[in-house]
Amino acid sequence: MALTQVSSNKCAGGFQKVFEHESTELKCKMKFAIYLPPKAETDKCPVFYWLSGLTCTEQNFITKAGSQLAAAEQGIIIVAPDTSPRGCNIEGEDESWDFGTGAGFYVDATQEPWKTNYRMYSYVTDELPKLINANFPTDPDRMSISGHSMGGHGALICALKNPGKYKAYDATVLAGSYSGPQLDILIDQGRDDQFLSASQLLPDNLIAVCSEKKIPVVFRLQPGYDHSYFFIYSFMNDHIKHHAKYLNA
């Protein structure tokens, strides 16, 4: 599939690039950001997929999360797709911030008029990895998934529905009835996150289920932190290291 490079900036010794392509799943043009560490010039590197939250594009993460230094140090490629199909001209897609554009929720829609384009689950778990592996120096056996907010949910469901596919997982959503190879989940939650206080996020439920199901989770409540990219930035390092432990093993 043809990739068009949209931008390339040298960063932390490697390159932060953005590409565009025609997506067969989503039936529109999609952009994704990819960070290539210095190690990628000579070796195949593992891939860390990052799923952003509501209203984000591929830009927010690469400009605000501060992941490049840690990725360069650990020799990991980071791929951050957009959060939904764009420009599909579906009625009502721009009506609310948490539904439609910028709110793919990383699921495959089952109803009209959404189901033709809104197939972010398949995009993230199928088309995108194939594209990345075909065009970049990746180690196809080593990939992990992570995300923030809606993306955290997305990461979890992708991991739980594809046992063994992802080597490390992050999520802020309820676990399902997972049965597969052992997970090791790290979750950070800002204590001052307005969504938490509004009970839109329910980590206790996740923890309860995981405790019962013996799914190993370490959940950290970080005092003073909110929902923003400042929060993401602060703990990005810990998360990349957590992934590196498995990706580089």
């Binding site: 052992q182 204590r191 405790s211 013996k214 190993p216 989770v217 370490v218 959940f219 409540l221 970080q222």
Partner: protein
């Protein structure tokens, strides 16, 4: 290029005159045809008259560092360093020996001088005595002779006088008689003739003793020189010997209970046997010690003796006399010898190790102090077979030693005690493995309610309530928190250990400074960091405590085996679920001093320490 009988282009001109045949056997190992790209070296043979001829190299010169030509072993410092060190040690030992020997030589020199001085003196005196006696006799004889002469002369003189008198008297008589005879006066003649004839008759009756009163010969009595003879003879008699010279103690000649003593005689005396005296040198030399140590004696024919049945690490005073038929020599100087100490005893439970080093502690094994200790280590293969690699650390002043080691090996470590007599036997060894960090628990820090398994790695907090009075608190024990510290080796590197617990155990595990407050709980102060597990009926709770504060964390899978990773350089203390390889939490702190692993049980239960484990890769990412 064919070098056997061929010509080298470079020195073609000379080549015409010289013989290039290489059939001579002096050029050993010379390759006939060098491979392309291979180097040949400049060589010249020393044994033939071609010795000054050089062949240039085929290719470039050999590399100055040897790196490119593969002959690296010349620059391999490793073995040579060891050799150099051992040679240096040998030389140092030799220097000490020589210094001792020089000192001893001085002593010998002085003794020889003394001995011969004495012999000279003795001889002089001897001969002087003889001479004196002889001259005395001479004087006596001479004066005796004089006396005799005088006596004889006197008697002869008196005889002479008498004769003279008699002569005079006869002369007078004769004159008188002649006068009378010549007298013309007949009357006078008749008057005097008769008395005169009477006088002459009387006189004639007198026998003139013409015998000499004394003999003309002198008597020559036989001089009684027997005593002089005895004296002369005694010069030839062997005198009593001179004092021997006792040697200073030779290194490595003593054992724990015996001393090997040598001495020498520096004169030509004949000796029948020697007697070696010895007595222990007691420390207590106070005046009230009237009981002097007993001296013992050994009779020996040789000039050396091994004295046995002695005490270890003890000083003895020794001296020796030599005896022959004439008598006993004076005693030699007293020498001080020392028996070798008893071997030390390594305190197995007070030793600790990590991949780079081991800390060994021991008891002296001797009641009196020794000079120093020597620590010996040898590497053993994994099968327990001893290799020949042995290292010694000498002059260790105290009963502990930190030894640098290499990671992932097995060692046997021995200690010897050393005094002037030499080194003791090896102690019993301790086996050290430099896989992971290994330590025992510090029993003297344990809260009285804590008991320990026999192997020292499991602690129990029993159900029984001990009354406060029954609890023996010491200075170092925890008083509230039922805790104990571990004896981690003081090396600022990376250390990893694991703690095994069960589902119910309420514990605190982490690290603390040695001076952490014994009256407070682990994690409640700023000198301790720990992971705490609290069990409620519905769930597990976890805290990571330092200075009383903990982050808010949930852990869904209860760890039954906790990995603790301490990194001094990075200033981190991390906790893991070792069974799942899951990271739980990391403290970041610059540890000012050395820290000790700490463990406590908040409720009755038990936990087991596992160490000597190589840190897993994820522990120190």
């Amino acid at each position: 290029m064919d070098l056997t009988g061929g010509r080298l282009n470079v020195i073609a001109e000379e080549g015409e005159q010289q013989d290039f045949s290489r059939q001579s056997s002096t050029m050993e190992a010379y390759r006939a045809v060098p491979e392309p790209g291979e180097r040949t070296f400049q060589r010249f043979s020393v044994n033939t008259n071609e010795s000054l001829r050089f062949e240039p190299c085929e290719d470039s010169c050999p590399s100055p560092t040897g790196a490119e030509d593969g002959h690296d072993d010349v620059f391999d410092k490793g073995e040579y360093e060891d050799e150099i060190i051992s040679i240096r040690n040998q030389l140092q030992g030799k220097v000490t020996e020589m210094e001792n020997f020089a000192g001893h030589l001085e002593e010998i020199f002085l003794t020889v001088e003394e001995n011969f001085g004495r012999r000279e003196q003795h001889l002089e005196q001897h001969y002087n005595d003889v001479l004196q006696t002889l001259s005395q006799r001479y004087d006596e004889r001479a004066s005796g002779l004089q006396e005799e002469k005088k006596a004889k002369l006197e008697s002869l003189y008196s005889q002479l006088l008498v004769c003279g008198q008699a002569l005079d008297a006869s002369k007078e008589l004769i004159e008188t008689a002649q006068e009378i005879y010549r007298c013309q006066d007949k009357r006078l003649f008749l008057k005097t003739v008769m008395p005169t004839i009477k006088r002459v008759e009387e006189f004639a009756k007198e026998d003139v003793d013409l015998a000499l009163s004394t003999g003309l010969e002198f008597s020559t009595p036989i001089a009684d020189l027997s005593d002089v003879k005895t004296m002369m003879d005694s010069i030839n008699i062997v005198p009593a010997p001179s004092a021997p010279v006792i040697n200073p103690q030779l290194p490595n000649s003593a054992t724990q209970t015996s001393l090997h003593v040598c001495w020498s005689l520096f004169s030509d005396d004949t000796v029948e046997y020697y007697e070696l005296y010895y007595r222990p040198v007691l420390e207590d030399v106070s005046a009230e010690n009237t009981f002097a140590p007993q001296e013992s004696k050994i009779k020996v024919k040789e000039t050396h003796c091994t004295v046995t049945d002695l005490l270890p690490n003890a000083q003895y005073e020794l001296w020796v006399t030599a005896t022959n038929t004439t008598g006993i020599s004076p005693a030699s100087e007293k020498a001080l010898y020392m028996t070798v100490p008893s071997p030390p005893v390594i305190k197995q439970r007070e030793c600790s190790s990590c991949p780079e080093a081991a800390l060994i502690r021991w008891e002296s094994g001797n009641t009196n102090p020794v000079d120093s200790y020597t620590v010996e280590l040898s590497e053993t293969g994994t099968g327990g077979a001893k290799s020949n690699i042995t290292e010694s650390i000498v002059a260790v002043p105290t009963c502990q030693c930190m030894i640098q080691l290499q990671a992932g090996r097995h060692y046997l470590i021995f200690v010897r005690a050393v005094n002037v007599g030499g080194p003791s036997d090896r102690s019993e060894p301790i086996s050290i493995s430099t896989t992971g960090t290994f330590f025992y628990l510090l029993e003297d820090t344990a809260h009285p309610c804590l008991s320990m398994s026999e192997d020292g790695f499991t602690i129990f907090y029993g159900d029984e309530e001990l009354p406060i009075t029954a609890m023996a608190f010491e200075d170092n024990t925890f008083t509230r928190c039922v805790a104990i510290l571990g004896d981690l080796i003081p090396v600022r590197g990376r250390h990893y250990w694991e703690v095994e617990v069960d589902d119910e155990t309420e514990f605190r595990v982490g690290v603390a400074y040695k001076d952490a407050d014994r009256d407070s709980y682990l994690g409640a102060n700023n000198s301790s960091w720990c992971m705490r597990h609290i069990r409620t009926p519905s769930r597990h709770k976890y805290e990571f405590l330092h200075n009383g504060w903990s982050p808010d964390l949930r852990i869904t899978a209860h760890p039954l085996r906790i990995g603790v990773a301490l990194d001094y350089d990075r200033g981190t203390l991390s906790f893991f679920n070792a069974n799942l390889e899951q990271h739980l939490h990391t403290f970041h702190c610059h540890f000012q001093n050395y820290v000790h692993p700490c463990f406590s049980l908040d409720n009755p239960g038990a936990l087991t320490l596992h160490n000597g484990i190589a840190a897993p890769d994820y522990a120190f990412i």
